[in-house]
């Protein structure tokens, strides 16, 4: 557990091994990759149709969940559409905004650019899983206190990302916070307040 969270860059190895498993699974089942490409249309149409759904079991916010999902479904869409969570947001669906940030075994990942079926047995935490019952997580409290958002659409991602950051580096400097939170865009630009919130959470002030 501790070893995984300290890996840097986060979970690249885990990601590769998961993609391999998933890739092999898809290839064996008829190659969704070619079927979705527009160019070799006729050939693809003749190929075996991809399976409509695949099973996957994972732990989300401490609860074991099993679902059958389209192999093309991203982890983000599975969390939102299949499991009914609304915290992780789809801002870009291309790994550029951070609104979909969730924690994989404590490490932050972008859930939009990874397939749900790759997460067999994984432990995922979304913003919904941070509070302890009615008691907000210190980072959540700090975001409220420092007004670390405006529209709030990036906020789930910012908060999960900040929790991941503090796990990686419990005493970040201001410059480190700015740098390490830069994968999470905020178009409302609540940045100064986000920094203040993360700083105060790190200092245990909230």
């Amino acid at each position: 557990m501790d070893e995984t969270t300290r890996e840097s860059p986060p979970s690249r190895r885990a990601f590769l091994s998961r993609s391999l498993t998933a890739g092999a699974g898809l290839a064996a089942l008829g190659g969704t990759g070619t079927a979705t490409a527009a160019a070799p249309a006729v050939a693809a149409a003749a190929a075996v149709d991809p399976p409509e759904t695949l099973p996957v079991s994972l732990t989300v916010n401490g609860r074991r969940r099993t679902l059958r999902t389209d192999p093309r479904t991203s982890l983000l869409d599975a969390l939102r559409e299949d499991l009914g969570l609304t915290g992780p947001k789809k801002g870009c669906n291309q790994g550029a905004c951070g609104a979909c940030t969730v924690l994989l075994d404590g490490t932050r990942i972008l859930s939009c650019i990874t397939f749900a079926v790759m997460f067999e047995g994984a432990e995922i935490t979304t913003v919904e899983g941070l509070a302890d019952g009615d008691r907000l997580h210190p980072v959540q409290r700090a975001f409220v206190e420092h007004d670390g958002f405006q529209c709030g659409f990036c906020t789930s991602g910012q908060i999960t990302s900040a929790v991941g950051l503090l796990a990686e580096n419990p005493r970040p400097s201001t410059a480190e916070i700015k740098e390490l939170m830069s994968g999470n865009l905020c178009r409302c630009a609540a940045y100064p307040n986000i920094v203040a919130a993360v700083e105060s959470a790190a200092e245990g002030r909230s």
Partner: protein, 733 residues
């Protein structure tokens, strides 16, 4: 008093736990998913479109094109219908990304896959790709509802005054096309029950947009119910109904099921507008002592082949400084691009870059302090109408921000300040925005459990209206803010002003204030007429709201709680109505918001990337309703515009006109690490001429003047005058 306090947002708990519901989070049983296919070319026709394979793909319910679409009943009026051409009406293509097919399937994945199977045969014509290519064709737009302001304004004889002026500056300035790029992509979920339409839409105003949809589908307005409680960032792009908003109900009719359209990130860039690029010329004439004699501000912006939409860059110019002879003009020119749309802060932001840069050039030429130049030309009254300003505190803004910034430490010589390899520059610029108000309605219900409920259709887009308006109702009734709840974002509620154009505080806020006062009056009338009330027989004017109830102004001991009063009288709720009607044109005072910016940049000599390390701004917006949310909003507006100053550029491909960077990976917006110290000052003065509340808008004035302030600082640091945004390193080499 809750007003003015730095309290946390009332919806903060929902926003930090993922419980807040945005349009994409609404779930309706049996919803089908639609994916919109955009044109790959930017000019021409769809000669043929083969949808057979897409229709046979797993899960597909329908593929709708111009060939098989149902008719729209009518074209709803612009400008809030974003495009004057309804989607899919014919085979013509005016810009890349224009929707040419709607693929509806059981799941999003199926629809996305099927969309790749649609084969389109295009007939291409040669596009007009860029503003430069079209510049010689610029014209004054016809008045078709899209021309928001008069295209020309004249006072005196600016040309003659300019020719006679001893000192002149005449330069061309350019602003790049900008994307709103909210993090929430627009989403619409629609379903029909007979001729009743329910529509969840990421809109900045349910009441502005509901009639548009009703007209398009030929149903009475009261048959359409539109919902939107939270918007994940709009900045103006959700103040219009873009084509996808009409395609969702159309698709729902075709497949007879609820249909959701959530546009892709790319389509956010191509299909929900942008701030159009401008080419502006500013010509200033002044006396040796810096007094402006003449000002000519001419602006041309790109618009689409569908619409004439102004980027009203010179519209504010006549109002800003005391210049006797002035001419301002706005022209447009057609480019194969999508229709632009108002983006925080439409016109004024681009215009201020040109005007405030030109003033800096003039100050430099005169050897005068740029702040002093502005002081000398301060408009004591509105130069257009001659009316006095309401609550203009611009001179105080100058003083306070300059002092906070340390402007007096500035050596005027460009290139004079250095720190190692860093060149240091100090710059400043002003900003002004005409204050807009619209009618707004709200009710406030006082309930027998001693709480209050605001009802108004306001949409919360992040400006903090849910919180500030709750504070207003709380103060009006003598309740803690926590005792006020807010029903909002539903067209069945009283009509709020739209959440754009900085109108929430002034207009909807005033409606809430009036409604709370009305509810209070009803409670007082009830008490003084009630034999069992300790206030029985009192003069209503002597009764005031206090800590959850009523009491006598002079004898605090005499009173009772709302709860006791209402329960005894077996009344569940007392409703107060608020109907705010702005004074309009014949108001005694001219209304505007004002600001000033001071920026410190550092630029490495060898890699001239501009870093804004410090920015101090001061604003005159009347009364600040919540110090916490106001500061956040102002910082955000400044940072958004620092993006325009330094990096944002939605560049067209020089051949096709297609946007080169319709993705957040390429269209760079500021990230956390880009941001230095931002300091905001509010020079407050309750402005009750503006409205009963004394507040004017903040969301837009905070984003005017920043680009010029940065460019002026860059000139001070380097001696280089960059007249074209954004100020990227290549322009400083």
């Amino acid at each position: 008093m809750a007003i003015g306090k730095a309290i946390s947002r009332v919806e903060a708990g929902d926003k930090v736990t993922g419980a807040a519901r945005y349009t994409e989070d609404v779930r309706v049983a049996e919803t089908a998913h639609a994916v919109l296919l955009g044109s790959a070319i930017s000019a021409g026709r769809v000669r043929g479109i083969d949808t057979r394979r897409a229709e046979r793909a797993p899960g597909v319910l329908a593929v709708i094109t111009h060939l098989n679409r149902p008719d729209f009943a009518a074209v709803p009026p612009t400008p809030y219908t974003a495009e004057g051409r309804m989607p899919l009406v014919d085979d013509r293509i005016h810009y890349a990304g224009q929707y040419i097919a709607v693929v509806v399937a059981e799941t999003r994945e199926q629809a996305e896959h099927a969309a790749t199977l649609v084969v389109v045969d295009y007939h291409r014509t040669s596009p007009v790709p860029t503003l430069d290519a079209a510049l010689s064709q610029a014209y004054i737009p016809r008045e078709n509802g899209l021309a928001r302001v008069p295209s020309e304004y004249r006072r005196g004889n600016a040309e003659a005054a300019l020719a006679a002026a001893p000192v002149r500056v005449e330069e061309e300035y350019r602003t790049a096309a900008l994307s709103h790029a909210p993090i929430e992509p627009s989403s619409t979920l629609a379903y029909w029950e007979g001729d009743r339409l329910t529509i969840y839409d990421s809109t900045q105003s349910v009441h502005m947009h509901r009639p548009l949809v009703a007209i398009a589908f030929g149903v009475p307005e009261d048959r359409v119910r539109m919902y939107c409680s939270l918007v994940g960032g709009g900045f103006g792009n959700k103040s219009y109904s873009w084509p996808h908003v009409f395609l969702a109900p159309m698709a729902a009719r075709v497949v007879r099921r609820p249909v959701r359209v959530t546009i892709s990130r790319k389509q956010v860039f191509t299909g929900t507008g942008h701030m159009a690029a401008t080419v502006q010329t500013v010509r200033l004439g002044a006396d040796q002592d810096g007094r402006l004699r003449a000002l000519i501000h001419d602006s041309v912006n790109q618009t689409s082949f569908i619409d004439d939409r102004q980027e009203t860059a010179s519209a504010i110019t006549p109002y800003v400084y005391a210049v006797p002879d002035l001419y301002a003009r706005i022209r447009v020119t057609k480019v194969n691009t999508g229709t632009g749309g108002a983006m925080r802060t439409p016109g004024d932001s681009a215009g201020a870059f040109a005007l405030e840069s030109a003033l800096d050039e003039l100050a430099h030429r005169l050897g005068m302090d740029p702040l002093e130049l502005r002081r000398r030309n301060h408009a004591d009254v509105d130069p257009v109408s001659g009316r006095p300003w309401s609550g203009k505190q611009l001179l105080a803004c100058y003083d306070q921000a300059a002092e906070r910034f340390g402007w007096d430490r500035r050596n005027p010589e460009p290139g004079s300040a250095r720190d190692g390899d860093d060149l240091i520059g100090y710059g400043m610029a002003g900003g002004q925005r005409t204050e807009h108000q619209r009618p707004a309605q709200a009710t406030v219900d006082l309930t027998d459990d001693g709480t209050a409920v605001i009802r108004s259709s306001m949409v919360e887009i992040g400006g903090g209206g849910l919180t500030t308006l709750s504070q207003i109702a709380a103060d009006g009734l003598g309740l803690p803010t926590a005792a006020v709840t807010f029903q909002h974002g539903d067209s069945a509620l009283p009509a709020a002003a739209p959440t754009f154009g900085s109108m929430t505080s002034g207009s909807t806020g005033s409606a809430v204030k009036l409604a709370a006062a009305d509810a209070l009056r009803a409670a007082i009338d009830l008490a003084v007429g009630d034999r069992r009330s300790p206030l029985h027989g009192a003069d209503p004017d002597d009764v005031v709201a206090h800590e959850g109830g009523l009491r006598l102004r002079d004898r605090p001991g005499d009173g009772e709680s709302y709860r006791a009063l209402l329960r005894r009288n077996r009344i569940n709720t007392l409703r107060g109505d608020g109907d705010f009607q702005p004074e309009g044109e014949d108001a005694e005072h001219a209304m505007a918001t004002f600001g000033v910016h001071f920026t410190e940049v550092r630029i490495n000599r060898y890699l001239p990337r501009v870093r804004v390390v410090r920015h101090v701004a001061a604003f005159s917006i009347g009364r600040v309703l919540n110090a916490k949310t106001a500061r956040n909003q102002a910082q955000g507006g400044i940072i958004m515009r620092l993006g325009a100053a330094l990096m944002e550029n939605q560049r067209p491909d020089p051949v096709s006109g297609r946007f080169i960077s319709p993705a957040l990976t390429d269209y760079h917006v500021p990230v956390n690490a880009d941001i230095g110290e931002i300091d905001v000052i509010f020079v407050e003065e309750p402005d009750t001429n503006a409205n009963p509340l004394g507040a004017r808008g903040l969301g837009e004035i905070c984003a005017v003047g920043i680009c010029a302030s940065v460019a002026n600082a860059v000139h001070h640091a380097t001696g280089k005058r960059v007249r074209s945004l954004p100020i990227t390193p290549d322009k400083l080499l």
